[in-house]
């Protein structure tokens, strides 16, 4: 299925567009009109204009529509899809609930919709989704208000739940990351994880894909798609489900869905995390940093306490902290004679002008695959932006940064580091976890965790 017309349309129709501000048809239209192309409000009972666009009675009344946003109740959806097919519309977002998530009748309704879509080759996002947002192209096809504030970034969020998709989008906004895309997959009628991952793997603005997964009927297909993607993928599998139909014997009782997801993601080269925050943090690390050659992390800290937390968390999360080479230690001794601790972590005791040089020395060490730096913000010194700018390119070693300080006072310096391509985190634990996820990603890829034989055998379920 080609998702071009879904995620990169030339013209859009909002079916069920409404002047009533309480309705989804209003919110969806309000966001959609930011799109740089025709947006047609469709509603036979609509009069005049909505956001400067004249109402039309039906999608069949307008030409060239790629994507229809359906703000209509569930029972009407099959008819509207048929109409879309007649009009040559290539994709639809179905916001309404009341489908497969709502019992047998809903399942039947969803089947009807899928059949109608198949007949006309229409890609369906949803039903039961809040839609999608691609900030870089002003595609704000969500009915949630405020999505226009999500800045463009390079991480694509593909969430099973539209609610989680928006949660992640607004969180990324607050934390200053931005997204390349935010997609709520909903019921995955015919566009599921696999189709969306394949599309965003080929999306120019996307450098990492993060998944929120509750469960899917074809987990093996999902894993295989992740493995085949060139873009790094990280996943957050939610919920420890029960043991299903095999509960009677040992093997079945010992095998929950959740175990299989975690094992499967690992086996297919996808690091998993345990929270929405960690999912975004991992996405940012994977998007910005080169793939490290292993899980050996060098820590440079200006404060011992956070450095110890970081060293602890890194190791608990599967990274290793090797000793630095003799040459590196000599170099650090020359930069800072009588340094507090020059093993790993390197603790400079307090921020100082030479801090950046120390980071450079550690990044250059052969034993180190990634560097995590912690430094409380000191206004007089700022951050070592110049030293860190381009350091990961020069050394091939990812460099990540964690800090804390008065938010307003350090905002410019945080922005400067981010512009220099350095991911900046607050909270030592979150920085450590993001770094460890990056390191684990390298390890999973390195271990050749991918069973080639599985792909060749086309294993049946």
């Amino acid at each position: 299925m080609n998702l071009q017309r879904l995620f990169d349309p030339d013209a859009v129709a909002v079916v069920g567009a409404s002047a009533n501000e309480d309705k989804i048809g209003y919110e969806a239209m309000a966001s959609a009109v930011r799109f740089d192309g025709p947006v047609y409000p469709v509603n036979p009972s609509g009069e005049g204009e909505l956001f400067g666009e004249p109402f039309v009675d039906s999608v069949t009344d307008v030409d060239g529509v790629d994507l229809a946003l359906l703000c209509v109740p569930a029972p009407v959806v099959p008819d509207v899809i048929a109409e879309c097919g007649e009009a040559g519309v290539g994709a639809a977002v179905i916001y309404s609930g009341g489908f497969a998530e709502a019992g047998e009748e809903g399942e039947e309704l969803q089947r009807t919709v899928v059949d109608a879509a198949a007949e006309h080759d229409i890609a369906l996002l949803g039903p039961n989704t809040s839609g999608y947002v691609v900030p870089g192209s002003d595609l704000l096809f969500s009915f949630a208000s405020g999505v226009e504030t999500v800045p463009a970034g390079d991480v694509a969020v593909l969430a099973q739940s539209g609610g989680v998709a928006h949660d992640l989008a607004f969180r990324s906004t607050r934390e200053g990351y931005g997204l390349s895309a935010m997609v709520g997959l909903g019921n995955r009628a015919n566009v599921g994880f696999e189709e969306a991952i394949e599309y965003f793997d080929g999306h120019d603005d996307t450098d990492a894909i993060v998944l929120h997964v509750e469960g899917t009927d074809d987990a093996r297909g999902l894993l295989e798609t992740c493995r085949d993607a060139e873009t790094p993928v990280a996943a957050y599998k939610v919920g420890q489900s029960d043991v299903g139909e095999f509960a009677e014997s040992h093997t079945g009782a010992l095998t929950g869905d959740h175990d299989l997801y975690l094992a499967g993601f690992e086996q297919y080269g996808v690091p998993t995390v345990d929270s929405t925050a960690a999912l975004l943090d991992a996405g940012v690390a994977l998007a910005h940093e080169p793939e490290p050659s292993g899980a050996n992390v060098g820590v440079v800290t200006a404060q011992a306490g956070p450095g110890i937390i970081i060293a602890d968390r890194l190791q608990r999360a599967g990274a290793t902290l090797p000793e630095l080479g003799a040459e590196t230690r000599e170099r650090i001794d020359e930069i800072l004679p009588g340094i507090t601790f020059s093993g790993n972590p390197v603790d400079t005791g307090r921020p100082m002008p030479e801090f950046g040089e120390v980071v450079e020395a550690v990044a250059a060490d052969d034993a180190i695959d990634a560097v995590l730096v912690y430094e409380l913000f000191e206004e007089a010194l700022g951050f070592p932006v110049e030293a860190l700018d381009g350091l990961h390119e020069a050394t091939g070693t990812p460099v990540l940064f964690a800090t804390e300080g008065p938010p307003d006072a350090m905002a410019d310096q945080v922005d400067a580091l981010r512009e220099a391509g350095v991911p900046v985190y607050v909270q030592p634990e979150r920085a450590a976890e993001a770094t460890a996820t990056l390191a684990r990603y390298a390890d999973l890829r390195e271990a050749g965790a991918v069973p080639e034989s599985a792909a060749e055998q086309g294993v049946s379920r």
């Binding site: 009927d217 014997s249 010992l254 299989l260």
Partner: protein
């Protein structure tokens, strides 16, 4: 030479089975309309996949069981063998499994007890006579496999025996797996420390154990009809890994014949 060192000998005493059934116990069971294999059938299948099992003979009555025990050598284990009984140790008020039988009298008495219970329950049962393994010589591990509706064939390794449910120390992989992956699965268990040799005990042959994991995964891939394999316990020792008990579950809606 041990009296039973391959599957054919075991099946020779299994007079009801045809030759075709011997070659593929899965097809035989499906032909009978059964969804479980007996322990003997399950072990025959595992042997065919290269998994070492304890020696065993199927006998029809107490005399046959005694003769089998003489051949195998005491002590032996006697178990009820019937497609109708999948949880042998819980069957017939404990009559289903008798361990450590070291004389003809002991075998005869245990066999008669099974026969009595079978008659009472209206179950068509036979007798599985088996070499007694020294479980103190190694660590009991569970190796399992199942066909998950969403993941397809998956395998698991875990701490076996009575600790299986207590600690739920398991690791999973999607099949097929190669030996290196299977070894990783075994080594990621908390129980790996027991397997590595605890307080001077001999380290287990992890490659042999990994090969059992590989074989279980391959069985699921080869036999479309198999939905679950439960090898519990596998005795992991310094010399190898031996399946002491096995259960194979089939889905009769699935046709046999592999991919």
């Amino acid at each position: 030479m041990t009296p039973v060192d391959d599957a054919d000998d075991a099946d020779d005493t299994d007079a009801d089975d045809t030759d075709a059934d011997d070659a593929n116990p899965v097809a035989a069971a499906l032909a009978d309309g059964r969804t479980t294999l007996t322990e003997a059938e399950s072990k025959t299948l595992l042997r065919g996949a290269g998994v070492e099992t304890t020696d065993f003979v199927i006998a029809d009555d107490a005399d046959g069981a005694v003769a089998a025990a003489e051949e195998i050598g005491y002590p032996v284990v006697l178990k009820v063998s019937s497609p109708a009984v999948t949880h042998k140790s819980e069957w017939g008020s404990g009559a289903g499994v008798a361990v450590g039988l070291d004389s003809a009298e002991a075998v005869r008495s245990a066999a008669e007890r099974i026969e009595t219970e079978a008659e009472a329950a209206g179950v068509d049962a036979r007798l599985l006579v088996e070499e007694l393994a020294d479980t103190d010589a190694g660590t009991e591990v569970i190796v399992g496999g199942l066909r998950d509706p969403s993941f397809g064939p998956v395998v698991l390794a875990g701490l076996g025996g009575v600790f299986t449910e207590v600690f739920e120390d398991t690791s999973h992989r999607l099949a097929p797996v190669d030996r290196a992956e299977a070894r990783e699965a075994v080594e990621s268990l908390t129980a790996a420390r027991l397997l590595a040799g605890y307080r001077g005990s001999e380290p287990a042959d992890l490659d042999a154990l990994a090969d059992v994991v590989v074989a279980v995964g391959d069985l699921l891939i080869e036999h479309e009809a198999i939905v679950e394999v439960d090898v519990n316990p596998v005795l992991a020792t310094g010399e190898g890994a031996v399946a002491l008990d096995a259960l194979v579950v089939l889905d009769d809606d699935r046709t046999e014949g592999g991919e």
